[in-house]
């Protein structure tokens, strides 16, 4: 069932291959820019690969991959209801919560598949392109970047799926999911001004902490906070799926 649902997500070529293509293109652009600036001023930019490339890959995959993952997630949540295919999935008799859980797994796989080319190509370039010894990347740094590049997009993809499942329109699902990620979630950071302890448990500070920030809530509390945030949106979508009539 997860495989079948993965097919429906991957089959939406605009969102899936768009995400994969744009993210990969961004990584290549980063590499080209590094080559150009190194060629123009080799003394000031001695390394192409290594740390500079890793920073570029991290930024490209985190940001563009994140946006793509949100679009993929929102559509995963809303598409079947908007298109009218949901009733044909439900009338197979499969329990709705099982369907929803399988869709979540399919979404996670789809996001990983969409980001994998950019991440793999980027990481290969980190090591293949020339770099000075001081710019060499440590395994722990590499792990941090991979973790960050995968966690942020998947977290926002699942949240977007929850939002999409609450709605019956693809456009609204994508728009509200992007609004949440780029406007509502940062605004929630303002809570920090009133209560630093609570502010640290808002989604973005907690995610920051879980992906390597030194300051903020204790790591376990931050991790739990991220889980609760994701679970809240996921459960809201699950509730709607379980209750709705099709």
């Amino acid at each position: 069932m997860t495989r079948a649902l993965l097919r429906t997500i991957v089959g939406r070529k605009g969102s899936f291959f768009g995400t994969a293509g744009v993210t990969l293109a961004a990584v290549i652009v980063v590499a080209v820019v590094l080559v150009v600036v190194h060629t123009l001023r080799p003394g000031r930019n001695p390394s192409i690969g290594g740390q500079p490339m890793l920073d570029g890959v991290s930024g490209a995959v985190w940001l563009l991959g994140g946006v793509g993952a949100i679009v993929i997630g929102a559509l995963a949540g809303s598409y079947d209801v908007a298109q009218g295919t949901m009733r044909y999935l439900v009338l197979t008799g499969v329990r709705r919560i099982v369907l929803y859980t399988s869709r979540t797994l399919a979404l996670l796989l789809a996001v990983l598949l969409a980001l994998a080319p950019a991440l793999l190509v980027g990481l290969v370039l980190v090591f293949v392109l020339p770099s000075e010894p001081e710019a060499h990347v440590k395994p722990s740094e590499l792990g941090d970047v991979v973790w960050t590049c995968l966690l942020w997009p998947t977290v926002f993809a699942v949240i977007a799926m929850g939002i999409g499942s609450l709605l019956r329109s693809n456009g609204a699902a994508v728009a509200i999911s992007l609004f949440f990620a780029f406007a509502a979630a940062p605004l929630l950071g303002l809570v920090h001004a009133a209560s630093p302890a609570v502010g640290d448990l808002m989604l973005l500070p907690a995610l920051d902490r879980v992906t390597g920030a030194d300051e903020g809530a204790p790591l376990a509390a931050a991790a739990l906070s991220v889980v609760v945030w994701v679970a809240a949106f996921w459960s809201a979508g699950a509730f709607r799926i379980a209750r709705d009539e099709y």
């Binding site: 295919t85 009338l91 009539e245």
Partner: protein, 318 residues
């Protein structure tokens, strides 16, 4: 489960949306191996009832058993031998016909994958299987919907307005396919429609619903037999004929149909009554040009039951 047990058992099924009663206390059994036409005008709750039977919507009261299992309590087992089209078949337009069936098969189980090619062949879509569904015509999508329904190797097919949007040739082809499911495969088909002509040609049994309530349920022959019977007379003097007929005790009603024709309702319409009627008129000096026994057609019966025949409109009277 015994084969005598109905494949669908509806007991007091009611579905309300706020104050609106979409399905009103429907009780009916659908026997196995036959085609039942669930007939009613638009808005009479046909699709809502189907959605309840398939666990897509909850009933407000009553119980539904499909294949001996209660829906929605045991929906997984109940629907494991059911295929359905509700309102219209919907697909992932960006996937091919075959890929769409593979997605559906992923929900049904491994054995469903083995049925895909046969299902496509059955609905004559093998040649278009690798084409994206967005390039399919409406008729092709309907047929693909039927192919998807066959993936469960269903005992019961529930088809909601399946011939909507089909051209006459497509409808004829569709009818043939539905009959083959019943006659060749021994499946039960529950088909909803507002088109009497269509249902009459496909169904063995007919149920007529009006405003959510089941009004009549029986075989096509029973429904026709249950209709009103009259004798139509064409006479030269309507007034005198009316007065003569009014004096006959076996005449229950007289209605003027055309300038020179009367429809006469009798306690019993048979040759004996017709002869007695004619003799009385002739003896009273009324010239009789035509005597014809007639029984309500199924269409007239349907229109009577659903109240759609009505009186002529004012502008038509004018």
């Amino acid at each position: 489960m015994s084969t005598a047990e109905p494949i669908i058992r509806l007991a007091g099924v009611t579905k309300r949306f706020g104050r609106t009663v979409a399905v009103d206390d429907v009780t009916a059994d659908v026997p196995r191996g036959r085609c039942l036409g669930w007939l009613g005008p638009n808005g009479s709750g046909k699709t809502t009832l189907i959605r309840c039977m398939l666990g897509l919507a909850r009933v407000s009261a009553g119980t539904i058993h499909v294949r001996g299992r209660e829906v929605p309590k045991d929906v997984r087992h109940a629907l494991s031998g059911v295929g359905a089209i509700v309102e219209e078949p919907r697909f992932y337009p960006y996937l091919t016909g075959k890929r769409n069936l593979e997605v559906a098969a992923g929900f049904v189980g491994h054995e469903a994958f083995a049925r895909i090619d046969a299902a496509l062949a059955r609905v004559d879509l093998t040649g278009a299987a690798d084409r994206a569904v967005k390039k399919y015509s409406l008729g092709m999508r309907q047929r693909l919907g039927v192919a998807r329904s066959l993936l469960t190797d269903p005992e019961l097919l529930i088809l909601d307005e399946p011939s909507n949007g089909l051209d006459p040739a497509g409808m004829a082809e569709f009818r043939q396919m539905i009959r083959s499911f019943v006659e060749q495969d021994g499946r039960t088909v529950f088909i909803s429609s507002h088109l009497l002509d269509e249902v009459e040609k496909i169904a063995d049994d007919i149920a007529i619903v009006q405003a959510g309530a089941l009004v009549v349920h029986g075989t096509v022959a029973e429904l026709v037999a249950g209709g009103a019977a009259t004798v139509r007379l064409r006479v030269d003097d309507l007034e005198r004929a009316r007065s003569v007929l009014g004096g006959l005790r076996f005449v229950t009603a007289v209605e003027e149909r055309e300038p020179s024709a009367l429809d006469v309702s009798l306690e019993r319409v048979d040759d004996e009554s017709s002869i007695a009627l004619t003799r009385a008129l002739v003896e009273a000096g009324v010239g009789v040009a035509e005597v014809a026994q007639r029984r309500e057609t199924l269409e007239e019966r349907f229109l009577d039951i659903t109240g759609e025949r009505g009186e002529p409109r004012a502008e038509e009277d004018a």
